[in-house]
């Protein structure tokens, strides 16, 4: 029995994660009936279990593939980081290939790190006027242990780090020797606003993610009415597709609900996801 269950457990690893639990439940249930029907023939039961591999590989092969739109939505933290890393790599390659201008270095090429720092300082000064810097309220919970909180911060810092790298590479790439002062200034303005937009995106993206699995939240639902704000809250509710919790985003910030709030769902809820 142990061997047969081990075969099923091993085959289950091949099955796509979303279907795994139900698939295993079906095979285990069927195994019980197979064993009862052929109690004298262990080899037959084992052969039956080996068929699970064929079934598992079929499910793996026919798993619906992600569309380009879904990939570009950068739902998983891996997709998001990989996308930024790819942009940074392209930026770095472009920056490496710029020709050296000898003595005629453009204004941007002089002390690029200092210019990057200046650009980031300006971007940070302007950023609060374009978006809230708060990441929301995440109550203490057994799901919010320090490794999970640390992972969330590492993810945010990685995004910001990669954005900085992209901006730096663009700074070098745009520093074409022989560019006049006005053109160089226009380019740096473009880079400044581009960086502000990128930092704004990094914060907004972080706010839309589940603090546990770091995947983008789904199924936005409108709750309440703005006219009832004195008695109730109104806004949008999003849910983690893996059942970790709900995010409440107020439509109008009030004194009792000024920022988005995360609500951890009890692990017993995860069975329905």
């Amino acid at each position: 029995m142990k061997l047969q269950l081990a075969i099923l457990q091993t085959a289950a690893l091949v099955v796509p994660r979303q279907q795994r639990a139900e698939w295993l439940a079906e095979w285990r249930s069927e195994l019980w009936y197979v064993r009862r029907a052929s109690s004298h023939c262990k080899r037959g039961v084992t052969a039956y279990c080996l068929g699970a591999f064929k079934d598992a590989f079929f499910l793996r092969r026919t798993k619906p593939r992600l569309s380009v739109r879904e990939i570009l939505r950068l739902e998983s933290p891996f997709h998001c980081t990989a996308f930024l890393a790819a942009l940074a790599a392209v930026g770095a390659l472009s920056a490496v290939q710029i020709p050296s201008g000898g003595n005629e270095q453009s204004m941007l090429m002089q002390r690029p790190l200092a210019r990057l720092l200046m650009l980031v300082v300006f971007a940070c000064l302007i950023l609060p006027s374009t978006t809230s810097l708060s990441l929301g309220e995440y109550p203490a919970n057994r799901d919010s242990s320090w490794p999970i909180r640390l992972r969330r911060w590492i993810f945010l810092l990685t995004k910001i780090g990669l954005i900085l790298l992209i901006v730096y590479c663009q700074l070098l790439f745009l520093a074409d020797p022989g560019t006049s002062g006005l053109a160089a200034n226009l380019r740096i303005q473009g880079l400044l606003w581009g960086s502000i937009y990128a930092f704004r995106w990094a914060l907004s993206d972080q706010r839309k993610r589940c603090p546990v699995c770091l995947r983008l939240l789904t199924n936005p639902a409108q709750i309440g009415q703005p006219a009832h704000n004195f008695l109730e809250w109104s806004g949008t509710e999003l849910i983690c597709a893996r059942g970790h919790g709900l995010l409440h985003v107020p439509e109008t910030p009030t004194s009792w609900f000024d920022t988005q709030r995360w609500l951890y769902l009890h692990p017993s809820w995860r069975d329905i996801f």
Partner: protein, 105 residues
């Protein structure tokens, strides 16, 4: 129609077995003589093509009878139409698998 024309003999046999009242994987295996590695993937394909649909038995019934709950398969409307077309293509199919009373509630 595209699905009907692609239905293999094995798939048609499984479809007929489900129609005849063999509504779970192991009984289909026993009746058709096909191995588990053929029957289950074929049923997944039929379910994906919306020719059959699956449903878990009520847990309370299984618990009362002291056995694990089973997953039952049922023909959809499209599945019945496809089976009729398959009967024309494979006329001996009905003789291979005799009907039985559906034992599920």
């Amino acid at each position: 129609m595209a699905v009907e024309s692609k239905l293999s003999h094995t798939a048609a046999m499984i479809l007929h077995a489900i129609h005849a009242g063999y509504v779970y994987g192991f009984s289909i295996m026993e009746m058709t003589g096909l191995p588990s590695g053929t029957v289950y993937p074929a049923m997944r394909r039929l379910e994906r093509d919306a020719l059959i649909r699956s449903e878990w038995e009520q847990q309370s019934i299984a618990v009362a009878e002291q056995r694990p709950a089973r997953k039952y398969y049922k023909l959809t409307r499209a599945g019945k139409a496809t089976l009729e077309a398959a009967h024309k293509r494979y006329p001996l199919l009905a003789r291979l698998i005799p009907s039985q009373e559906v034992e599920t509630a």
